[in-house]
């Protein structure tokens, strides 16, 4: 009996710990060691249809086009960030990505304790970035403004909705950008706003969106990772519109995803990998990517449901944002400053 317990406990331990990591090798024809790049996801995971998936697509693109070696580790919970970063450090990677602002503390700690290892993070910026750490942030308020503009023009009920994940600087960009876009297009439209307090709880997202539709909203934008899956599902069930985020999410419900506010995490990851292969490493700095870089924008599939005339207006608006003649707020303070109310 005791033996059985011991065997059982060991078995449980092995299975629980086993396989926290996966790598995809791309052999190098000339036999030289290819550069290895790894990423650690936040709690979203690489099939989150959103942010982390986009990052992994960027990694795969780097593998296919640059021949780098790639791998990822998924974090089931916040306490996995440190150990996952450690595992990737031990695996001898040239560069280790942390995906998402939730990982900021963990990656900074890792960067400080391993000064010779290169690290990079999506969606976080420091005043004093260590030299072996690169921050990449997006002007997510810009595509949010554009989809807000589309929503404001296309709403028939005059009510649209915004579902946020966990409130903070990054989601504020989406939130206030969207609100401003709606107000810019249609000052009399009402925007319902609710936070799910999660990036993973799709059931909550569905529930929240169903309620918004019940309250009369006809278009709901979700900036909440996998919570957005539930929002899209609700839109499909109710025959209304959802607006996707991060990636072109139209394929999730082709007749019910109006457009998506794209944030090209894949592109950022690919560009850094490209630089790395050429021997460039902008460590210690923060890259800010926006419309000007083509790193954010509305989804290509938008032409399916958005009228051509409106799309032309959006193109014009893009130019005005790039030129600075239309200013897009990214938090509460700028929202008021730029004259969108409070």
């Amino acid at each position: 009996m005791r033996n059985i317990s011991v065997v059982a406990i060991v078995l449980v331990a092995i299975i629980t710990i086993a396989g926290c990591q996966r790598s995809d090798d791309a052999g190098q024809a000339d036999g030289s060691q290819p550069i290895a790049i790894a990423m650690v996801t936040d709690v979203g995971g690489v099939n989150d249809q959103s942010f982390n998936q986009s990052a992994w697509e960027g990694m795969q693109m780097s593998r296919d086009q640059l021949g780098v070696r790639i791998s990822y580790a998924e974090s089931g919970q916040g306490s996995d960030y440190g150990p996952n970063l450690e595992t990737m450090y031990d695996a001898g990677n040239e560069l280790i990505w942390g995906i998402g602002f939730l990982m900021a503390d963990a990656i900074r700690t890792a960067a400080v304790s391993n000064p010779s290892q290169k690290y990079a993070i999506i969606d976080f910026a420091w005043q004093d970035t260590p030299n072996n750490l690169l921050g990449v942030v997006f002007q997510a308020e810009q595509p949010s403004f554009l989809v807000g503009y589309i929503a404001g023009k296309m709403t028939e009920s005059g009510i649209v909705g915004f579902v946020g994940g966990i409130s903070g600087d990054v989601i504020d960009q989406f939130d206030y950008g969207f609100h401003a876009g709606v107000a810019y297009a249609n000052p009399s439209a009402r925007v319902l706003r609710q936070y799910a307090d999660s990036f993973t709880d799709a059931a909550r997202g569905k529930s929240i969106a169903s309620q918004m539709f019940l309250e009369g909203a006809d278009i709901v934008f979700a900036a909440a990772g996998s919570v957005g899956d539930g929002v899209i599902e609700a839109a499909k069930e109710q025959g209304r519109w959802a607006i996707g985020v991060d990636r072109d999410q139209n394929y999730l419900a082709p007749e019910h995803v109006l457009t998506s506010a794209m944030k090209r995490v894949d592109m950022a990851i690919f560009n850094v990998a490209e630089g790395l292969v050429d021997g460039e490493w902008p460590g210690g700095t923060t890259k800010v990517l926006g419309l000007v870089d083509g790193a954010v924008g509305i989804a290509p599939s938008s032409d399916k449901h958005v009228p051509t005339a409106l799309l032309a207006e959006v193109r014009e608006l893009e130019q005005q944002i790039i030129a600075g003649s239309v200013r897009v707020p990214f938090n509460r303070a700028t929202f008021a400053d730029y004259g969108y109310g409070n």
Binding site: M1, I15, N47, S207, Q211, M212
Partner: protein, 311 residues
């Protein structure tokens, strides 16, 4: 106003249905005298199996059934440990709570290209809503009754379990081995067999509960999908005084708390969302401490039984 209430009740049903299945499992197992705190792990197994089998077969019903079977196997494991080897029920249950997610993630990595998230079933392949389109969209009956088939199944299951426990010979035996296994043994009841059946059934129900979450409420499995529902279902068993109808009522209460979080979230900024999200869990605590009072567990619960030995 009436529409809001209908929405609240409809969402309550949605959130409660996985809990109802799982708490029925707990009720059956505990009535036979075996504590099952492994419900959480069994739910994870069920949720994963439903999503994976549903994805590959393209049929959600096949997925749901497979979920019950897979989690039933974990029930069998629990039964082997607790009934045959007289292991401590709580220890075995905890092991299952580790083992269930561990194996699910492991198999998921094998099947889904290294990811612990399964691919989405596709919104058209989920468990169907039998009454979809019968009522006008967002009318009161639509909000209340246009639910996934699993919600109705859950209610039917409550009645079925009640009937089995209180109106059949098998039910009498289950309760007898939970109250006084020695007496039942003397009367010729095969205590171990009855407990095996009960514990495997509890796994089956927990699997249905997990599957309900992954392929009816949403459309894929992911880590964190089951986060405490198994324990809440267990609390519902105790809150419901080990009776299926009591557990059912308790699950509705917890489902209502979840629905309330969403309902209030749109209407008030008074409370931070983080505090609001604690509501269902806080309610569990308050209810267990404050309102249950003295509830009598089956007398032989958690006690191993060796047929033929004196205890």
């Amino acid at each position: 106003m009436i529409v809001s209430i209908a929405f609240l009740l409809g969402q309550t049903l949605m959130y409660a249905s996985p809990l109802i299945f799982t708490s029925l499992g707990g009720t059956v197992s505990e009535n036979s005298g075996v504590v099952n705190i492994g419900l959480e792990g069994m739910m994870v197994v069920g949720a994963f199996t439903a999503a994976a089998v549903g994805y590959f077969s393209g049929n959600a019903w096949v997925g749901l059934f497979a979920a019950g079977v897979a989690a039933g196997c974990f029930g069998l494991l629990h039964a082997v440990a607790c009934v045959t080897f007289n292991a401590d029920h709580v220890v075995s249950g905890i092991a299952i709570n580790f083992l269930g997610p561990g194996i699910s993630y492991f198999v998921s990595r094998l099947l889904f290209d290294g990811a612990t998230q399964t691919r989405s079933l596709g919104l058209d392949n989920k468990i169907p809503r039998p009454l979809n389109g019968v009522f006008a969209s967002n009318s009161v009956p639509d909000l209340l009754l246009n639910r996934y088939a699993t919600a109705y199944l859950a209610v039917v299951a409550v009645a079925a379990v009640w009937f089995v426990l209180y109106r059949t010979r098998l039910g009498l035996r289950i309760r007898a081995v939970g109250e006084h296994p020695e007496a039942a043994d003397t009367l010729g009841v095969d205590v171990k067999l009855v407990r095996y059946v009960s514990v495997v059934a509890s796994g089956f129900f927990a699997g249905l509960g997990g599957g309900t979450l992954s392929i009816a409420i949403i459309s894929q499995f992911r880590p964190g999908l089951i986060s405490g529902q198994g324990f809440i279902a267990l609390a519902a068993v105790i809150f419901g005084k080990w009776r299926p109808q009591g557990a059912f009522a308790a699950c509705l209460l917890f489902g209502f708390a979840q629905a309330l979080v969403v309902f209030l979230g749109l209407r008030t900024d008074a409370l931070p969302t983080q505090i609001m999200s604690m509501l269902p869990y806080a309610l569990t605590l308050v209810v267990l401490v404050g309102f249950v009072g003295r509830s009598a567990a089956p007398r032989a619960i958690g006690r191993p039984f060796g047929a033929g030995e004196t205890t």
